[in-house]
Symmetry: C2
Subunit: 208 residues, 2 copies
């Protein structure tokens, strides 16, 4: 008999495959997690299984801003409360929205895309909450869309797509992008070419 | 209103906590996984939840060697098939047993401890499948126990504990430990002190 990993019970192999679908978890880590679960306390494993189920069953996206909200919460979501839709900040993820909201810098509304356009990963506009944004703009009342996607290839592609579509269809709405330049507290010496290039290009006049 | 991560629905917070119980997954990674699950395909999430449940419900440890085996498999486990219990190789994990078995080097039986003694992590002999090993030795027929725990602090502590207990209680059973020295294909220049020290101490005579 040749003995290998495939001699393991099918339950373990299924669990390894299921763990591998999570981001940043390769086959080796998935295997390690599966073996850990085998010896883990039964209640802790049950907690994880239940939490996974409940997140998909009890949660939904806010009909307005696409933030995560409880199914029972039929009214306005926590992030939309007391927000003026005149200014909408578009972010890639829930955590980005929380970061900006917690900073208190932005007083307007939010819109969460839940990702960024990435042709390499097969993510196009239709996989994101972009239509929901356009429907919102159609309802009127918005004067400016601040695009706060990440300063990455995917974030830039998303920003370009949004700007272009908004300009073509909602020409009275202004689109802006978060400024690019040197981050506070960093060392100019260690800044990469793109950052330096942006810092020069977007230099501001010193009005003293 | 102050807005923070705690403003998230309780379902998400529970999932973050549940993910954090897994090894190598800290609060930041747990959060990233939880947000990923929110946008992941419903079926894939259900697969993971089911796989977790089934691993705990349908699997058990082999009554002889403590390998993972299906509940339905009431007979002998795959790893115990055609094995002479005269020689038992003790390993820390299922994957160690698979590695040794697949190499074909060891023809005897196995015993899987499912961990190693680690007072720092609160793991003592009673948390491991050590009693199962002693019960097996009590039944007789074993001449030698090869201890193949990892060459780490925990693995060494486990090997010492096993050797001592076996010597005291089953004085006719020989205990051996896998040899320590230079690993094949490595560079002597980059070997650490312990490896070099072991290589000198366990040097073998060249009988030409």
């Amino acid at each position: 008999m040749t003995f290998s990993r495939s001699s393991l019970p099918s339950e373990v192999q299924k669990l390894i495959v299921a763990f591998s679908t999570l981001p940043g978890i390769g086959p080796k880590t998935a295997q390690r997690l599966a073996y850990f679960v085998l010896t883990q306390d039964k209640n802790e494993v049950a907690n994880l299984a239940t939490a996974l189920k409940e997140v998909k069953e009890n949660l939904d996206f806010c009909k307005t801003c696409c933030f995560i909200t409880s199914n029972e919460d039929k009214t306005i979501c926590k992030l939309c409360e007391d927000k003026d839709p005149i200014l909408i900040c578009v972010v890639e993820s829930v955590i980005d929205a929380i970061t900006i909201e917690a900073s208190g810098i932005h007083k307007g509304g939010f819109h969460i895309l839940h990702g960024a356009i990435s042709p390499m990963a097969g993510i196009g506009p239709e996989q994101l909450k972009i239509n929901e944004l356009f429907n919102r703009l159609k309802r009127g009342g918005t004067k400016e869309v601040i695009i706060a996607t990440n300063p990455t290839l995917e974030g830039e592609a998303t920003a370009m797509y949004l700007t272009k579509t908004i300009k073509e269809n909602y020409y009275d709405i202004k689109t802006t992008r978060l400024a690019r330049g040197l981050a506070s507290g960093t060392d100019l010496e260690y800044s990469d070419f793109n950052t330096l290039s942006n810092a020069f290009e977007n230099r501001t006049s010193l009005d003293i």
